[in-house]
Symmetry: C2
DNA sequence: ACACCAACGTTGGTGTCGCCAACGTAGCAC
DNA sequence: GTGCTACGTTGGCGACACCAACGTTGGTGT
């Protein structure tokens, strides 16, 4: 009556939102375990990777691109700047803005974290074939696109 | 330079873990908006629905089945009991346990919330065809099964 | 020139979810 | 009886997503 089966919430386990939640939870766990080795979190990676790939940007812009609230960007940039991975400079063209740039060390860390993320993807998608991975990515992309278009 | 495009974090938008996270976030938002009308949250639904579908169970058992920590179950059951949706009774066969049962009102609320959840699923999967929905469910199920088999 | 509104960075919250440590109580195996 | 385990409960923590408000700055309309 009390086996060690921790799963299957009855009819819940068939609802897509439940499955999405569970899958995302597992993915987040894999990622955060990887990030722990860098002593950073998901927010750090999103911002740092975006900076490394797309070049300097204002905090508000970064937040928009990464789906992170302006107010949350502040603290994370503070942290990244404190580690020398990022530089915060006032925008001479618009004194409301700060221009955030990844330092050399920042770009380096972004690359290393990228490797960590790649490893997590492989672990995450381990049970799926290449074709299935593409299917999943395509379906999720459609979903996300539809719902982020407001 | 500052269009109202809040998305596409560069190379991030192609990683499955990012897509899963985004999709799950949208799903959670849809669900929680629906739950708000019942003045309840996701935890409440999971427990209540499980009780309504599978009958009475101990708190620890419920937690295991729903993927909710024992300590979190306590507060939610308190809340549900305070609303008369659930009854907490000591288990005569094992005095460590509490037997939680859904009341008539609880089963009723579970049904109503089930409708809300169904509506959320439809909104969530709106951009996908029936075949694609089945594909997605199948792929996610495989993923979750693989990773919850520890 | 002035008033007005929008955007920026920042502070300081809120809520949900997932998890962990510790305690006292109760059952079970040896 | 001595241990080990499970139970419910309390109280905490961290990550993430979000919101309200403020002072500052830019841009617009008049």
């Amino acid at each position: 009556m009390d086996s060690t089966a921790p799963q299957s919430p009855a009819g819940l386990s068939t609802t897509p939102s439940w499955l999405l939640n569970q899958a995302a939870t597992h993915a987040a766990r894999l990622l955060s375990e990887g990030f722990a080795a860098h002593d950073l979190r998901g927010y750090h990676y999103r911002l740092l990777a975006t900076l490394a790939e797309e070049g300097p940007a204002s905090q508000a812009d970064l937040g928009r691109r990464c789906g992170i609230d302006r107010s949350d960007v502040v603290a994370v940039i503070n942290d990244l700047a404190g580690r020398g991975l990022v530089v915060r400079a006032p925008d001479p063209a618009d004194r409301r803005r700060n221009v955030i740039s990844a330092t050399v060390a920042g770009v380096d860390e972004a690359r290393r974290m990228g490797d960590t993320v790649e490893r997590a993807q492989r672990d995450l998608l381990a049970p799926l074939s290449t074709t299935e991975r593409e299917q999943l990515t395509r379906l999720l992309t459609r979903l996300v696109r539809h719902h982020s278009g407001h």
